[in-house]
Amino acid sequence: MTSAPITFGRPWRVAFHIICLALCLSVLVPMALVVGTAFKPANEIYDLSPWPSQPTLANFGRLFGETEFLLYMWNSLATTFLRVVAQLAIAILAAYAFARWHFTGSTLIFALTLGAMMIPHQLVMIPIYIMIAELGWFDTWAALIIPNLAMPFAVFLLRQHMMSFPKELLDAAEMDGAGPLTALWRIMLPNLGPALAALTIVLSIDCWNEYFWPMLVIDSPGARTVQLGIREFLEENFEDFGALMAGVTIASLPVLLVFFLLQRRIMETFVASGLKG
């Protein structure tokens, strides 16, 4: 960025800094409270001070010892991994077809793909619920993964990137004897690295944070995800806020960590995706 496009007068600047600081505090203070409480001993839970005077891991101990939180994390990690890999594979192939070939029906199919972006889960929940009931898939990973394989926004985003990819490189690959799949795998994808990485992370965060769908199809603790686990914990262990905040900390940590790996790209991808957590 070059010089500032607009320079507010000093009083405005001060006022805006105060507003922004207040907004940032509204983000950071609750986070600090959560993390602080996660390390507080039981007798300090009700104290106003955000930080524990005697930090302890006891809350984490109870979280992992008395609940199945480790299992929930495994469920979340495994289904997120499997689902995102499948979503990416499907989106990459489709985006490539849309970006590379014009064929009868391509416009219609692309419009259908875009149209699906506008359909939230709640609009299709009843028939899919029935479907899953008939297949006997309640409380399985399949119920979490399979109805969510098509990610229209990922198709759209990848298609944009692929259309701005130099066409000569694909032509050159073809002249060199590469078929379309080889050209995709060997020539195009290696050059989409950062975009793919950001997309992968955004899809993973979306899946990790998901609530509505798992809530609908998962009931037993065996297939519970982290988000469901935290809600259950709130309902069942109502008084144990220390362990609850330990769970909240652990559930948020992976998301924040991957975010800081590729901050800027991820924010851009989020903006492009329309996913808002």
Binding site: I6, L48, Q122, I126, Y211, S252
Partner: protein, 310 residues
Amino acid sequence: MDGTTAVAAARPPVRAGRPRFRGLVPWLYLAPLLAPLILFVYWPLLHTAWLSLVRWNLQPGQATEFVGLANYAGVLESSLFADASWNSMIYVLAAIPLKVLLPLPVAVFLWSLGRAGGTYRTILFLPTLISFVIVAVVVGWMLNPIAGHVTALLSWLGMGFANPLATPDGAIITIIVLSAWKVFGFNVLLYLAGLASIRRDLIEAMRLDGASDWVILRRLIWPLLSPTTFFVLIATVIFSLQQVFTPIDILTEGGPENGTTNFFYMVYQLAFRTFDIGRGAAGTVLLFLLLLVITLLKLRVLEKRVHYQQ
């Protein structure tokens, strides 16, 4: 063998060929997308439309009974629908100042800071990353009458404090505020993306014409940003209807006295709380029509945006 012969040996024969099923190839790449798209989006939409015309309670053995438009009448006449409509309107109206108007000046300010605004931007973005479950759980904890920090803070200040989630008004305000908090940074980012696309030479030209910052903001940036503003508005309206599902479900389950339920939560209540599949499907079809109208509006705005770029 040496390299030359190896290269020659690998030479494939040139086949005299006809185009072999070349038209089929794109469909092979699209099939993995089309299958779930049809099975889990478009077929369920049609199925829902059918289910909205029958009476069924989700029991596998139970026969379905065709009832025509009775489910629609049932939904439209219910007090749940009246409450959901009213609340949906409140959610949307409250969203406009909090989520659409307020982020705009903040975004312009961050834009004027350039690189220095990065820290603010990143911190404000963090709520987007945190799951709504966790946001709702933490808010529930902080508002908890016994253990909550907000409660404790207020009683320490000598103010009595009742749990806002216990009253309909308090509950809906809580959900409005926490959803505004969650989406604020995201909308700031949307505005920043719009601002970044404004060409600097336009601003410089206007400044050379003797315009002040205020004039530039009002006469150049606001009009050029208007497609973005409209986009943020539409996206926020949908967000304010849909994404609050999670905090509603976790904090209030639509209550108290249907005080926080909205269209999205209503169809869930109908289908999976009262197990009235017909009415749930009828509500879903109505909600679909509403979203369709909003989406068509959005498409018109996108066309306008293209127009602006020329």
